[in-house]
């Protein structure tokens, strides 16, 4: 058995990873909840955001500073992508949207591959190996920052959805498109805003991941697999579900790494995933089917 200290440390580390996982999942679940499609370009957008953060660092901008520019830039990119590419090319057919996002992901990934080869790059920030001493364990500073910033980003997203007219319009369109049109909500605009918010979350996640992670043209896929798991666990379309699911998956991964060995950490995720699908197909956190 492990000492309680070690388990507690693993849980803390899991929560920190989980917060970033949550951020990568929240955009996916939001887009699913509102547009009723799975955005297959999600991983490619994350990759693109990590490259953007990487090149910002190359020209001397720290990722924690770049995030304030990249989040709005990726919001605008996501907005434009949905409004001018995905929306018009899908002609209102869900399965077309699916194919368009899949096509987009292939295009983005291959453009990145052509431009940057499949080299793995990472950055070297001064605080990369800084730690906080808790007595029983050390916490990596960039991961603590990532945790705090992910929570802040999730809180901002929640405030937007709960309190602003735009957020209310997003929730209205998710459930009742005709009713929304009849109060004057521009549904195409709301779709694009939703897509933009998802992309902005990915930009934030990218800036938080970069100091402790590497980037290469397929890096987003690893995260997106976990994000899909979280979305299903949290209940498709549920934003709070994705947040809780992200934290949960982070802890599961960390604990199974501890008990099964570092390289098997992700197996725990998929075991839990399959178990949940068998027992509670609508997700862990009480979301409606």
């Amino acid at each position: 058995m492990f000492a309680p200290d070690i388990i507690l440390a693993a849980v803390l580390n899991g929560l920190m990873t989980g917060a970033v996982y949550a951020l990568t999942a929240v955009g996916l679940t939001l887009v699913y909840g509102v547009l009723h499609i799975i955005n297959f370009a999600h991983g490619a957008i994350l990759t693109a955001a990590m490259f953007a953060a990487f090149f910002a660092w190359k020209i001397g901008i720290d990722p924690y500073v770049a995030v304030f520019a990249l989040a709005p830039i990726f919001f605008a990119l996501g907005y434009a992508l949905q409004r001018f590419v995905i929306g018009p090319s899908s002609h209102g057919e869900d399965r077309n949207i699916l194919l368009v996002t899949l096509g987009l992901s292939i295009v983005i990934e291959n453009l990145l591959l052509a431009a940057f080869r499949s080299d793995t790059r990472s950055i070297d920030v001064p605080y990369g190996f800084s730690v906080i001493d808790l007595g029983f364990t050390f916490l990596s500073v960039p991961r603590v920052v990532a945790f705090a910033a992910s929570c802040a980003a999730a809180a901002i997203l929640w405030l937007i959805l709960a309190k602003t007219d735009t957020g209310k319009a997003i929730r209205a369109v998710a459930k009742e498109k005709l009713g929304a049109s009849l109060v004057g909500i521009d549904v195409a605009h709301v779709y694009a805003v939703t897509f933009g918010l998802g992309a902005a979350c990915l930009a934030v996640a990218a800036c938080l991941l970069l100091p402790t992670f590497y980037v290469h043209p397929r890096v987003g896929n690893a995260y997106v697999l976990v994000a899909f798991t979280i979305v299903v666990l949290g209940g498709m379309g549920s934003v709070p579900g994705a947040l809780l699911g992200g934290l949960f998956i982070g802890v599961v991964e960390s604990l199974s790494g501890l008990f099964l060995g570092e390289s098997l950490g992700q197996i725990g995720i998929f075991l839990i995933f399959i178990l949940v699908l068998l027992v509670r197909p609508t997700g862990l956190f009480g979301a409606r089917a």
């Binding site: 007219d165 209310k168 319009a169 929730r171 209205a172 459930k175 009742e176 005709l178 009713g179 929304a180 049109s181 009849l182 109060v183 004057g184 909500i185 521009d186």
Partner: protein, 237 residues
């Protein structure tokens, strides 16, 4: 008579390969209640959807308040003050009563949201008791009040009501017709689609009867109520 607030000419609309409306002409004057009658599936809801811009007409002109709107977006039509309370309510089920009402002023009259909320609550005290309840858990009658309240939040200049009494108990149906009368007495022009033919004719200043894609009868409420052809149209004899 004053210039009509709404006038339609040669309106054609439909779905896929079928024209449901085949050339409609009608007018609604300011302050009027105009009823549109017709049996199930003749295209009353199709007409309302076309007026509010969610369905594009194939031909014809729709003039609202002096401007052509047949090519306008639903948002622009709401902004102009033509507000449609749809059949089946179409409220936002997992949002609170208050949020539903707030969204009624998403596009129009946002600056006067607080005042208009008070007005809606004065009209529908039942909604005030339930501001934080999810709209989807309201009773059918309450949902209908919410749908109308949401429409009123946008300060309509013409209000389209599509079967507001559908599924209501006789007592609530009375209440609904009373409400339509009150709203109209305050100066609101109303386009009313109803299944309660005699009650609607009693209330409406004028009415149109839709059959086979065209208005086959029209006139004042009293004229139509006395017209033997009305029954024929309805019973399809």
């Amino acid at each position: 008579m004053a210039d009509p607030i709404l006038s339609i000419s040669g309106l054609v609309a439909g779905y896929g390969g079928v024209d449901v409306l085949r050339g409609l002409d009608m007018q609604v004057s300011p302050g009027e209640i105009v009823a549109v009658l017709g049996s199930n599936g003749v295209g009353k809801t199709t007409l309302n959807k076309t007026l509010s811009g969610v369905l594009r007409p194939r031909a014809g002109v729709i003039r609202f308040d002096g401007a052509d709107i047949q090519a306008a977006s639903p948002a622009a039509i709401v902004e102009a003050g033509l507000i449609h309370v749809p059949e089946g309510r179409k409220i936002f089920p997992d949002m609170s009563v208050l949020e539903n009402l707030e969204l009624g002023s998403y596009r129009r009259a946002k600056a006067r949201r607080a005042r208009n909320l008070e007005r809606v609550f004065a009209t529908f005290p039942r909604l005030l008791e339930r501001t934080n309840q999810h709209a989807g858990t309201l009773s059918g009658g309450e949902q209908q009040m919410l749908a109308i309240g949401r429409g009123l939040m946008g300060e309509p200049r013409l209000l389209i009501l599509d079967e507001p009494s559908l599924g209501l108990s006789p007592l609530l149906v009375e209440e609904m017709f009373g409400l339509v009368k009150t709203l109209n007495a305050e100066g609101l022009a109303i386009l009313l689609v109803e299944q309660n033919v005699m009650q609607s004719l009693d209330l409406a200043h004028r009415a149109y009867v839709l059959e086979n894609g065209a208005f086959v009868l029209s006139g004042t409420g009293a004229e139509l109520a006395a017209n033997p052809d009305l029954e024929k149209t309805y019973l399809g004899m």
